[in-house]
Symmetry: C2
Subunit: 242 residues, 2 copies
């Protein structure tokens, strides 16, 4: 079917998926561009395709064709992609594996996407997001993750109740501070660990830090107060993957 009017009810519903409120309500989210759509398809997340008319993608998936005008209406991007996908969120609250990354209120979608990409690169098993972390299904997060959001177990949980449980299950809980604690270069990791990274401006919250077994920091030149949180997380995950 070809949709040519932005007044169409289905088109209006699709556009609303740019807002967290509607993603939460419907358990759906949008991905834009062929690369992300194909990653969503291969991982079983893709539910429906949206193609600009005269495009084709040979997938056995419900396909909606739209005019360029409708495409521009739906998209968040300055340069709209001619291939979009509607995906289903997965419902999941199972912590898997030995190598956990906990993110405490990361706000920037580019940072969260970059961190997800690096977490896949360095073999993290599960990422746990605090409730106030930026929405995982924000289109900027998905783009910055380069579609790797589909390749790793990611769950949203209350950290103050989750961390003590992890401790009981034998995970080493490692907090991060800008200077205090052990240098990353000297850290001795256990088989099961959870590393906690904090918000861009404020770092890890005090009540979360108080739950940690130890703390680590990255040695750096005194002219640099701190690193970008995506960079700091990636360096730590790289080092812990050795």
């Amino acid at each position: 079917m070809l949709y040519s009017s932005i007044d169409n009810k289905k088109i209006k519903e699709i556009k609303k998926l740019n807002l967290k409120k509607y993603r939460d309500k419907t358990n759906l989210f949008l991905v834009e561009g062929e690369h992300l759509v194909m990653e969503a398809y291969k991982s079983g997340y893709l539910k429906e395709l949206i193609l600009e008319q005269d495009n084709d993608l040979n997938l056995d998936i419900t396909t909606n064709y739209v005019t360029n005008n409708v495409l521009k209406y739906i998209t968040n991007l300055d340069t709209p992609q001619s291939i979009l996908g509607i995906c289903s969120k997965t419902q999941n609250d199972t912590i898997k594996g030995n190598r956990l990354l906990i993110l405490d209120d990361i706000q920037d979608p580019g940072n969260l996407g970059t961190i997800i990409r690096s977490a896949v690169a360095f073999n993290v098993d599960t990422i746990i997001l605090s409730f106030n972390t930026v929405d995982l299904y924000n289109s900027k997060v998905i783009r910055a993750s380069q579609g790797l959001i589909f390749y790793i177990n990611i769950i949203v949980m209350d950290l103050t109740t989750t961390i003590p449980k992890l401790k009981n299950e034998g995970y080493q809980i490692i907090g991060t501070k800008v200077t205090d604690g052990k240098s990353l270069k000297s850290i001795e990791k256990k088989k099961k660990f959870a590393i906690i990274m904090g918000n861009e401006g404020n770092g890890v919250r005090e009540d979360i830090l108080s739950l940690c077994d130890e703390y680590l920091y990255i040695d750096m030149n005194k002219n640099c107060e701190s690193l970008n949180v995506g960079v700091a997380t990636s360096i730590i995950l790289y080092e812990l993957d050795k």
Copy 2:
């Protein structure tokens, strides 16, 4: 003096500094926000202050007051800062130190800023930018660098003529590829080295790679094709700073 009209010639000249063309012509650039203005001041780059009326900053520097309307006209930011600075570029083409970072056509201003921040953190002496790298004085670069642009020697040069000279001077020239070469974990660095990072989409250009002594890559999970270039650069600089 208080400027209240966006038709004022000086105000128009200041606004033009958002464009590379005018920054090149005047050798001036803008910084926005108190933190960046203070970093520029401490490093001797600050030439004039622009303050929203009723603000004050106790610096011995020519100060221009503007109305909120004029401020909104000048700024590139969604939320204008009430403190701006006009800075002088430094003219410099001296390669200093033993630890060099060469950037071959990095395009994203956020990536360049992040890389500068990490280069300061991990004790790089000089950053050399190819001619087609995004403009160092782009406001997004300066913001992402957190003002650390003022704390490191950065020069723009033709890479194909510069790299052979560095080789003659005894620098170990290390190219980066996504998979080929030596693993970062096994690299043996010499006292004098230059590490070359490439463009976001295409990596280091072939003719630049052909000038290298050796190549390195970062070990990662096969589900991840590559890392964000800011992240990859930071991990390499972290490892080489040990």
